[in-house]
């Protein structure tokens, strides 16, 4: 086991900030290359016109998941040191819904809005301003919402534990689901999104 490097003391906190910047460059580069600096491209997902958000997101999830699975199996990375965020089911369901509505209303999500600002989208500046206002609001109101935000604490819970299946079996199911989704995405675009007809 030699990874994760930082958790095993390969470098310190100051160096981790340089790593953060470099990883961010890669993140921003591929978000922009995918077209995610454009609110129209992003929201086309929700009108079935272009399911690129689904394709990119699930390809990325499958790529990273398979890499971690195989490198964990080969003993290269200690998966117990890889951070898995705590599940707070009710606030994550409500927060997810709010975020989803905000995606269609605002056209971006926090990460993609940064890429949009970097490529000159003026509406993304307003979106970013709104994000700050939202955080300000919930921060000020925190004493009132803290109880709900900490409710339904299920700890470090993973899908293999929920489904009572081995890690490898869930990895396989996620890959199958993604491949099925990629196969179905084109059909959805043609049937519901009007792809192949004249562009308005």
């Amino acid at each position: 086991m030699s990874m994760p490097l930082y958790k095993l003391g390969a470098f310190g906190d100051e160096a981790s900030l340089v790593v953060a910047f470099l990883i961010g460059i890669g993140f921003g580069f591929f978000l922009e290359q995918a077209g995610f600096g454009s609110a129209k491209k992003l929201t086309d997902q929700f009108y079935f016109r272009d399911l690129a958000v689904f394709r990119v997101m699930f390809t990325a999830i499958v790529t990273a998941m398979l890499g971690l699975f195989w490198l964990g199996w080969a003993g290269v990375v200690d998966l117990s040191l890889v951070y898995v965020s705590t599940t707070y089911l009710a606030p994550q369901i409500v927060g997810g819904l709010l975020l989803g509505v905000g995606f269609t209303v605002g056209g971006y999500c926090p990460g993609t809005s940064v890429v949009a600002v970097a490529t000159g989208k003026l509406d993304a500046l307003f979106f970013l301003g709104g994000t700050f206002l939202g955080i300000l609001a919930i921060g000020v109101a925190w004493p009132a919402v803290e109880g709900f935000a900490h409710s339904t604490d299920l700890g470090r819970l993973t899908l293999p534990e929920v489904l009572h299946l081995p890690f490898g079996a869930v990895v396989f199911l996620v890959v199958l689901m993604a491949l099925g989704g990629f196969w179905g995405a084109g059909a959805l675009e043609r049937r519901l999104g009007g792809k192949g007809e004249e562009e308005p």
């Binding site: 930082y6 900030l17 898995v84 999500c109 293999p160």
Partner: protein
Amino acid sequence: MTTPSDAAPAAVRRAPAPYMNPYLAGIGLGLVLLASYLVMGRGLGASGAFSSACAVAVGAVAPAHAAGNPFWQDYLQAGVGHPLKEWLVFEVLGVLAGGFLSGVLARRVRATVEKGPRISTGGRFALALAGGALMGIGAKLARGCTSGQALSGGAVLSAGSWAFMLMVFAGAYGAAWFLRRQWR
């Protein structure tokens, strides 16, 4: 290349490059995420950086309020000696640089407003502001946004992240019919 003789107007400059194939971009994004897990032991994020910036602003303007509020204190006590010397803050600065680099290479950096033909620019700005506010609130309740929860938590099979991801798609599709005039 322009020469003094052809005096090309800006309108005929080379068109933006097409977007990358989504599966290729997804593999690239997935490898960046994998690298983050292998090197740092953590995934990607975005909204946390905005929270750090917001907390520092609140701490400067209303120090008494910030001192008594655990939400702001969480962010003000983070970081390598300063709340803005925080991992996600530096990562998001990288996202800004990486997005700009890609945009320049693809000739896509240009001041524009992204909207459909049937909504005014002012209306679009108002909806962008409102959507951003919903995102800010939702991301703090869910402890992360599309990057930190859906993408990063999704890849390590976190149960809460998958529930979150399903709800993001549900909320976005649910709102789509009402917002169609903004985009189409």
